[in-house]
């Protein structure tokens, strides 16, 4: 039975879908990395994703234009991000609680809009894999890496871009400084609130995009609460990756590979209780977190509002 897994076709399938399934985690957790690096914990990711997923789906469903769907989802995520920024930066609200508020808002709102505007579960034809001449035709590698849709490539590109911004640019320096020691940054004329507004709203925008990648690129449907905790896993992945983009990507890949494996286990009817199979990625996350979190130090100012003179 188990040896069914070890055929070339199945292994390629597992790896290819693992790479693809990492997409929403990547967008969401890279956005969260930016936000946390500047000192803001955004627990509203899940809500932002849900609204993004609905918006992308609805716009695509009604206009037939996938890109319009993506843009709309990013815009909605951006608005949610700005709201989160306003609440945590201007009003200095407790970040964890505000985040949960935004999660509940996104959860309820996306469901309400879904009931009112769609009513039933429908499907769209989402982003298709792109054929890259020569690369896509490579044996094995071509199927695993180069037969993916555009949003998948975008997610991996985003990791590299974020790494570059954080480590090679003056903006990255400011983001890190604001997250570690806002007082020091402020004393050098860096606007703490402007930087945090930027990262939190970009983070929201990326969460919206993460939602879109689910509803119009991976699953091509919208259902209520379709993220089912994915946004919270994305937050956990940021801790797992120690706030470094490539390590966060490693975590996302590990997680989605296990997820992909468990999906195939079910598809192939391998006699492992399905509840247990579904649990695997989550158990893995908890174990990985327990092992890693102890040795990395979060940004010192994480969750702390900044006020001059304190």
């Amino acid at each position: 039975m188990i040896d069914q897994l070890f055929t070339e076709a199945v292994l390629v399938g597992i790896l290819a879908s693992g790479i693809r399934l990492a997409t929403p985690y990547l967008y969401a957790s890279i956005g969260e990395t930016l936000s946390q690096r500047s000192g803001v914990l955004n627990l509203g990711v899940e809500g932002q994703m849900l609204l993004g997923a609905f918006t992308a789906f609805y716009i695509t469903f009604t206009t037939g234009n996938l890109w319009l769907g993506v843009l709309a989802a990013m815009f909605v995520g951006l608005l949610m991000g700005l709201a989160m920024a306003f609440v945590t930066i201007n009003l200095q609200a407790e970040q964890g609680i505000s985040g949960i508020g935004f999660y509940l808002f996104g959860l309820g709102m996306s469901d309400l809009l879904f009931q009112k505007m769609l009513g039933t579960v429908a499907t769209v034809s989402g982003f298709r894999p792109i054929h890259i001449p020569w690369l896509s035709d490579l044996p094995i590698i071509g199927k695993i890496l180069f037969s993916q849709n555009i949003l998948v490539y975008g997610a991996y590109l985003l990791v590299a871009v974020t790494w570059f911004v954080l480590n090679k640019t003056t903006l990255g320096l400011k983001i890190k400084a604001v997250g570690e020691s806002p007082q020091a940054a402020d004393s050098l004329g860096v606007s703490v609130s402007r930087i945090r507004y930027l990262t939190v709203s970009v983070g929201g925008m990326l969460s919206g995009l993460a939602g879109a990648s689910l509803s119009i690129a991976l699953l091509n449907v919208f259902q209520q609460n379709m993220t089912s905790g994915l946004g919270f896993i994305a937050v956990a992945l940021v801790y797992f990756g120690g706030w470094r983009p490539f390590a966060v990507m490693g975590g996302a890949l590990l997680f989605s590979m296990v997820n992909s494996l468990q999906l195939w286990v079910q598809v192939l009817n391998i006699p492992i209780p399905s509840d247990f199979a579904v649990m695997m990625p989550y158990v893995l996350t908890i174990i990985a977190l327990v092992i890693t979190v102890q040795r990395v130090r979060p940004p010192s100012a994480l969750t702390k509002p900044f006020e001059r003179g304190h």
Binding site: E180, A185, L188, S300
Partner: protein
């Protein structure tokens, strides 16, 4: 007026900066009231005042971190408005803050580059920044490695980074807010060499300190602030310590008199080869051994962060000992809990009085019975006896001269000096056999400091064995019978007070072991 020249840091001189009638209010406090202050190129103008006098506030107004409620700032005769540090940096004003403004997880070069435009547009130009750091370091004798992470640096080195940061931004006028508080005497000397060099080059320097001998040593003029008001500005030449101290406090000062002979009878506290770890898991105490006798004060001198915090915590049972023995009144108490130690007549004045000494949201009365809240007469069968508590607290408040509106006032709204008096009242009124006093006067004004010293000496008379851990060398020299010096978690030496000199202690504090061991 003389010609304005360009400084080695690249900015043109600020020949004269004047502040006129500066008033700055915070809710419930007037931090500055109609203050006039000025500084010229080529001089060190010292700003003197007790804690809370308003020195930092005045300087933060100049640096644009606070907006004054009233008053005007002029640079070379032209009125300027400074909205934020961006403006002041542009005008050539730099500030070294009392609490360093460094990002520990970034490198020296990154800290210096932070917030500055880069020659490579959006990309950082750390190589160029490093080259410039080397240039500035060369001119002013500020050795520091641009690629080192700030958390790796000792305090003295971090300060150099702060100065380089300001110079890199072209500071022509430099505000130094208590820069010497964290340095060893030798580091202070080095720091003064750098300051003199900057003055010779034509910088204008404002130097804040409450150490009178430093002010007399380095400054050209001295201004004294008291309770937010400017008391006066006088030339340093001809000024005396007594004169300045009286300007600061507003009344003549008593002198600390200390009996040279102490009755060292029985040994109360013994540490034998005690080792312990810091929060990060690195060794914090390495084979620390010493003893403290009844009726003596053993001073522990050292630069901040050399294991003082861990030492106090190990003795009071708040941090585990990895090896070694602690003996209190002839009994081995290694690894015993704070509660047990307290029962053995050990009292503790913690370094972080707001975090470890008091619960700041609790009232004065509640804080005064924190230790004995579950014992008679304050508690009967699990119920608090409020009458007994308030009588007890009332008595302590009078004995210890605590200024509080009522017993029900929360501690967080009291001043630092009064909070420390409460800690003293609670800890000393128990008549402890052994007292651990960690940085007991940090952040207190002269009046409150005098009071704490007085109480500590009174305890010594009464036969208490006191371990005084302090980063203030003057305090250690004034109060101790013997002085132990701690460096990187090791006791470098224990010297009787009458044989100790500031130079010798300073060398030990810097980790230079005694060569001519007796």
């Amino acid at each position: 007026m003389t010609e304005k020249k360009t400084l080695p840091s690249g900015h043109s001189q600020i020949l004269q900066m004047e502040m006129h009638g500066i008033t700055k209010r915070f809710p419930g406090v007037v931090a500055n009231f109609k203050v006039d202050f000025d500084v010229r190129a080529g001089e060190v103008h010292a700003l003197l005042g007790e804690n809370g006098a308003g020195k930092s506030t005045l300087m933060k107004v100049l640096y644009g971190m606070y907006q004054p409620d009233e008053g005007q700032i002029k640079l070379d005769g032209t009125p300027v408005t400074i909205h934020s540090p961006v403006d002041s940096i542009k005008q050539g004003i730099g500030m070294i803050h009392q609490h360093f403004m460094l990002v520990e997880s970034l490198t020296v070069a990154e800290n210096v580059a932070l917030g500055m435009p880069s020659t490579r547009g959006p990309l950082t130009d750390l190589k160029k920044v490093s080259a410039r750091i080397y240039e500035l370091a060369e001119i002013y004798g500020l050795r520091v490695d641009p690629d080192a992470y700030v958390w790796q640096l000792a305090v003295g080195q971090q300060q150099r980074v702060e100065i380089i940061k300001a110079l890199y931004r072209g500071a022509a006028l430099l505000i130094l807010d208590e820069p010497t508080a964290v340095l060893t005497p030798q580091e202070v000397d080095e720091f003064f060499v750098t300051m003199r060099q900057m003055v010779t080059d034509g910088h204008a320097l404002i130097f804040i300190s409450h150490k009178l001998h430093e002010v007399l040593d380095i400054s050209n003029r001295v201004s004294v602030l008291r309770d937010g008001e400017m008391i006066g500005t006088i030339p340093t030449q001809g000024a005396t310590k007594t004169q300045l101290a009286e300007m600061m406090v507003g009344r003549p000062l008593g002198e600390i008199k200390i009996r040279q002979q102490s009755k060292t009878s029985q040994t109360r506290l013994v540490l034998q080869d005690v080792c312990s770890q810091s929060d990060r898991g690195t060794p914090a105490l390495k084979n620390v051994s010493f003893e403290v006798c009844a009726g003596e004060i053993l001073g522990v001198a050292g630069v901040s962060g050399n294991g003082q915090k861990e030492l106090a915590e190990v003795i009071t049972g708040m941090r585990p000992v990895t090896s070694g023995k602690i003996i209190l009144d002839t009994q081995d108490v290694t690894g015993k809990s704070p509660k047990v130690l307290m029962g053995r007549s050990l009292s503790y004045i913690p370094e972080e009085r707001m975090r470890d000494g008091m619960i700041k949201e609790f009232t004065v009365a509640e804080n005064l019975i924190l230790r004995e809240h579950d014992q008679m007469p304050f508690s009967r069968r699990g119920f608090l006896d409020l009458k007994a508590i308030s009588e007890h607290s009332e008595g302590l408040i009078q004995d210890y001269n605590v200024k509080t509106p009522s017993l029900e006032t929360t501690v967080k709204s009291l001043s630092g000096g009064n909070i420390q008096k409460l800690v003293l009242a609670r800890e000393i009124s128990r008549r402890p056999h052994t007292l651990i006093a960690a940085q007991p006067t940090r952040g207190l004004d002269i009046g409150a400091t005098e009071y704490v010293h007085h109480r500590l000496l009174e305890q010594r008379e009464a036969g208490t064995a006191t371990l005084l851990i302090s980063e203030d060398l003057d305090e250690i020299m004034a109060l101790s019978d013997r002085i132990a010096v701690i460096f990187e978690g090791e006791i470098m030496g224990v010297v009787p007070r009458d044989q100790a000199t500031a130079e010798q202690i300073g060398l030990l504090m810097a980790g230079v072991a005694e060569t001519a061991a007796k």
